[in-house]
Symmetry: C2
Subunit: 198 residues, 2 copies
DNA sequence: GGTTAATCCGACCGTTTGGTCTGTACAAAG
DNA sequence: CTTTGTACAGACCAAACGGTCGGATTAACC
């Protein structure tokens, strides 16, 4: 694997684990047994390094994990349950959950680094827009009730997903996952089409 | 106001705005035109300073804003709507929302400072326990359906509340608040007692 | 063999960090 | 007037930070 790619992979891991500001360039280099020269040969600055990680790694992962599995199928509500279920399962095993990564970075850079914030918001926006249109398509296909406000539903779904990751820090994350999923199903049930009253 | 109290107030503001690690002791002292001597006369360390802020300011505010307004009333579902509505309104005006503060710190210290994490989890736990017991009381009083899993509902409610604060960073926070509240009502509606089928 | 460009090393720099320590202004007590 | 303890000032420190720079290594090409 090329050095540049190794740096990005290790960088994302450490930034996710410790935060951007709390992770020094030396930390990353120490993990890979590399030197300052190697880093600043490939990247202009720490900020530039981070932005490349976002665009090369995070954006693609968000798409493949949170967008692609949902869009393109018939019943969006079922796909959402499966997708969240899978994402939270990786969270239970403490593997890197890219939805959580995005959430962490969004909170860390709020009101600080505008440039980085722009890139993060772009990624988030893509996810949101896709979720909304998928719900609207589900409405068209009869899987979502026609009275549902799809934009509001997307906001609520993403909110709950982002938030539950914060709750899964403490003890018994799998219990919290189970509780969350049960109520997610309750909420999604209310989006289903009303039975036609004969 | 005593110097010690002024430091804590200013400290919380800056920690909330910039994060714990990204805020230096000098930043706080500069804001109050004080010196290092004053700080380390009152506090043993930056960590000790932060813990005192958590216990003296954050814990009390969480109670008065998120716990007290919900408990003790008849219908918990109505109180939850009002309470979240009010909390998110302060968020729209960019004032300090203490639920958001707790969320930010929980994500910032995850897996880093165990000692601080313990204190934050304690505060969170109090909120969660209160919300669960309030829902259970609501079930007893006939405002919540008897089939509802109160622990799961509390988890879901807190998740969505924590998460929506992340979404309100970008543009049009008030629009996101409106969408969130509409779906919160949809969800809470599904917790109401089923009409007895005659 | 000599030249060139790519890749990486590691000493070094200025600044900032959390924290220490000596000193001092001052009010209350003797 | 002297003593004593409180409440702060600010110079100072070692460590860590992001970033620079001259040089070493290596392989490819003429």
């Amino acid at each position: 694997m090329a050095t540049m790619h190794r740096m990005q992979t290790a960088g994302l891991e450490l930034f996710y684990a410790n935060g951007y500001y709390a992770t020094s360039v030396d930390d990353i280099l120490k993990k890979l047994s590399l030197s300052k020269g190697a880093f600043y040969y490939h990247f202009a600055s720490k900020e530039d390094f981070f932005i490349q990680i976002i665009q090369n790694l995070l954006a693609r992962k968000i798409y493949s994990v949170l967008i692609e599995p949902i869009e393109g199928h018939d019943n969006p509500l079922e796909q959402i349950v499966d997708c969240f279920e899978e994402a939270l399962e990786t969270a239970v095993h403490n593997d890197m959950d890219f939805g959580c990564v995005l959430n962490n970075f969004l909170t860390e850079f709020r009101g600080k680094d505008q440039k980085i914030m722009k890139h993060l918001c772009d990624i988030f926006s893509i996810w949101e827009v896709n979720l909304v249109s998928t719900l609207q398509k589900g409405k068209f296909n009869g899987y979502v009730d026609r009275h549902v406000d799809c934009e509001a539903a997307a906001t609520y779904l993403i909110s709950s997903y982002f938030g539950v990751r914060t709750l899964m820090v403490g003890t018994t994350p799998s219990a919290r996952k189970y509780r969350f999923m049960s109520q997610l199903r309750v909420y999604l049930k209310s989006l289903e089409p009303r039975k036609v009253v004969a």
